[in-house]
């Protein structure tokens, strides 16, 4: 099964940015060209800073271009839980920051005339399960206490009302095409002097007393500030002990009757679903999407990842007159310990390095919030919301449970790495199109057999913190169950905190031995893993 993001498929003209070749000296270097990095770059360029954006792959090609294009004040972490784990001031700050980010995006699309289908519309929040009614009541109460205009409603349009136990509505939320938006911003700032580089991987970063240094394959960047806008900080960072990686799934379908609801829905049942609609190439709605089925990255409860798509497709067919399934894709998100993202200086002693992570599945708005906050911090402008998002706030008693749970989970993943344990014992057990781990000559190897029967092998040991990667048969990737690093079949990094690729291996197929090349053996490979 091939996965493709609707946003990638419906972005006709994608600007190309060159890779970095040579050395640079700028005020601010931003690692990552998603909505967080580009929004930060926009604000800093507007403030007169010299800025360079360094993107390892393509601008908007990470989670931004694989999201669901919805802009909303509510958050999947729930405001009433933020109230429990933090306080009312924090909860209100998060709500107002999210509302401001939504307005910011609207302003940018109008000011820069970005053709990204931005349109306001309501958000509906409902359940068909009696035991979830109290969650909705608590969340409506929390949003009202935070000053947001949410109300209970008897009517959820387009959906069968019979099973709905309770529903709420909030007007003024929005949809847009996230990839077109980010590329529109990138084109604008590039024309105004911001330097954007694609296919430029940062493999080392260091904060010195009066400057910072970033190393890429073909050049060094000297700067006064670094923003790590890579969804989760690259390298090793304490935030990775609480920001747990999750994957969620989306199917996009066409309807027979062309009756696409102009609203965004959260069905808050035990198995949460989000239903949304979007446009392919105009403001006319022509695609319905159902999203949900979160699970921890690399820890799917179903061996066949297809299950997650099938379940969403069944849901769509049950509730709508589906003509065809057009796209399927999945995306990664990171949860924070207390439901609030970590945005700001990377640790208490840091003066020049900033991070933004823990966005839950609400990253388009939170990425924009991060861009606004980080740029204010860097230019020295006061911002009342900084305290709520402070990345150095650490673990409090309310989040200690999450901290313990996540780290016990990581320890459990390490404890699965026992000698002689792997998915298969022999290459013959790997069917075409399948990936399996094998132990060969005492090393864990990730082996993929392509449909033409050719083998692709690399070390199965994640280059971030050495957990054993798992095969993701929906996307043909190797996913690390500990901190969410993901790799292609050739071992190259897709996303996550890992910087170095999985080491490619050559296998003597007849004897099932590793062919030792000139490269170091796995345990002798020195991987630069900066502690950020």
């Amino acid at each position: 099964m091939k996965t493709q993001s609707f946003w990638e498929a419906t972005t006709p003209q994608r600007p190309e940015f060159p890779p970095l070749e040579g050395n640079l000296d700028v005020d601010v270097a931003i690692i990552g060209g998603g909505i967080t990095g580009i929004t930060t770059a926009l604000q800093l360029t507007d403030a007169g800073k010299s800025v360079a954006v360094l993107e390892a792959r393509r601008v908007g090609g990470g989670t931004t271009g694989w999201s669901t294009g919805n802009l909303y004040v509510p958050t999947g972490a729930y405001y009433h839980k933020i109230l429990d784990s933090r306080d009312k001031e924090t909860m209100s700050s998060v709500a107002y920051a999210r509302a401001a980010a939504l307005d910011f995006i609207e302003h940018q699309t109008l000011q820069k005339q970005i053709d990204c289908h931005f349109a306001r519309r309501p958000w509906y929040f409902f359940t068909e399960e009696e035991n979830m009614v109290s969650t909705i009541e608590k969340e409506v109460d929390a949003l009202q206490r935070a000053g947001m205009p949410i109300e209970f409603t008897e009517n959820v349009p387009y959906l069968n009302q019979d099973g709905i136990r309770i529903a709420a509505r909030m007007h003024g939320q929005a949809r847009f095409h996230p990839l077109r938006y980010v590329l529109g911003l990138a084109t604008d700032i590039a024309a105004r002097g911001c330097q954007i580089y694609e296919h430029t991987t940062v493999f080392d970063l260091k904060e010195e007393k009066d400057h910072c240094l970033l190393k890429t394959q073909h050049g060094t960047v000297t700067c006064r500030q670094i923003v790590i806008a890579t969804h989760i900080p690259i390298g090793i960072h304490t935030v990775q002990t609480v920001a747990a990686p999750h994957r969620s799934y989306v199917v996009a379908v066409r309807l027979r009757n062309d009756d696409y609801p102009d609203a965004y829905f959260w069905q808050n049942d035990t198995m949460h679903k989000a239903i949304t609609t979007h446009s392919t190439d105009s403001m006319k709605l022509d695609m319905l999407m159902v999203a949900g089925n979160h699970h921890k990255t690399g820890q799917a409860s179903h061996q066949e990842y297809q299950h997650y798509f099938n379940e969403l497709e069944d849901y769509a067919r049950k509730h709508f007159d589906v003509a065809s399934v057009e796209y399927r894709w999945s995306a990664q998100h990171y949860r924070s310990g207390d439901g609030v993202p970590y945005i700001g200086l990377t640790h208490k002693d840091a003066k020049r390095t900033y991070i933004a992570t823990g966005f839950y599945a609400d990253g388009l708005i939170y990425g924009t919030v991060a861009g606004m906050l980080l740029s204010d911090m860097i230019v020295g402008k006061d911002n009342n919301w900084l305290k709520a998002f402070d990345a150095t706030r650490g673990t409090n008693l309310a989040t200690a449970k999450t901290f313990v749970k996540e780290n016990v989970n990581v320890a459990a993943q390490y404890l699965k790495d026992t000698p002689f344990s792997a998915d298969v014992k022999h290459l013959s057990e790997i069917a075409p199109g399948e990936g399996k781990t094998m132990e060969i000559d005492g090393e864990k190897v990730a082996v993929y057999r392509n449909p033409n029967n050719q083998l692709h092998a690399c070390s199965a040991v994640c280059t971030h913190m050495k957990c054993i990667v798992h095969w993701n048969n929906a996307e043909n990737t190797w996913d690390c169950p500990c901190h969410g690093s993901r790799f292609m079949i050739d071992g190259s990094v897709i996303e996550g905190p890992a910087i170095a690729n999985l080491e490619q291996k050559q296998i003597d197929v007849s004897g099932e031995h590793l062919i030792e090349g000139e490269k170091h053996r796995s345990g002798q490979r020195d991987i630069n893993n900066p502690i950020t």
Binding site: I236, Y414, G442, K466, C467, R521, G523, Q524, N528
Partner: protein, 114 residues
């Protein structure tokens, strides 16, 4: 003496796993993390039991404890290097093992020597 004997058992198990891990380090292979994360806690429990025994008073194996603590510091440093992608110097691994084995032998002499 029961505490001491239990400590010896924990150290013996830790030593067996440690020798197994050493074969990976000396061959330049990735260490199996399940063994790493069992070896360390076993040794740590051994050290705690030894401290409990010493705190009870009377003749005690201070020399073993010092060697075990030094070995544990080396082990923690090796774990840090391993998990952060830095190779483990074979000499460091061997030295860590020698410290622990020496401490273990002295502990056996203390427990059974007289």
């Amino acid at each position: 003496m029961a505490t001491l004997f239990i400590a010896i058992e924990f150290f013996a198990l830790a030593a067996l796993l440690g020798m197994y891990l050493l074969t990976f380090v000396l061959r330049g292979k990735e260490t199996p993390k399940a063994i790493v994360f069992t070896h360390g806690p076993l040794a740590a429990v051994g050290i705690i039991l030894l401290i409990v025994y010493i705190l009870k008073g009377g003749p005690n194996p201070w020399d073993s404890l010092i060697l075990f603590v030094l070995a544990a510091l080396g082990g923690a440093y090796m774990l840090f290097r391993d998990l952060t992608g830095r190779p483990i110097p074979p000499l460091l691994a061997v030295g860590h093992g020698l410290l622990a084995v020496t401490g273990f032998v002295l502990l056996l002499v203390f427990a059974f020597g007289s």
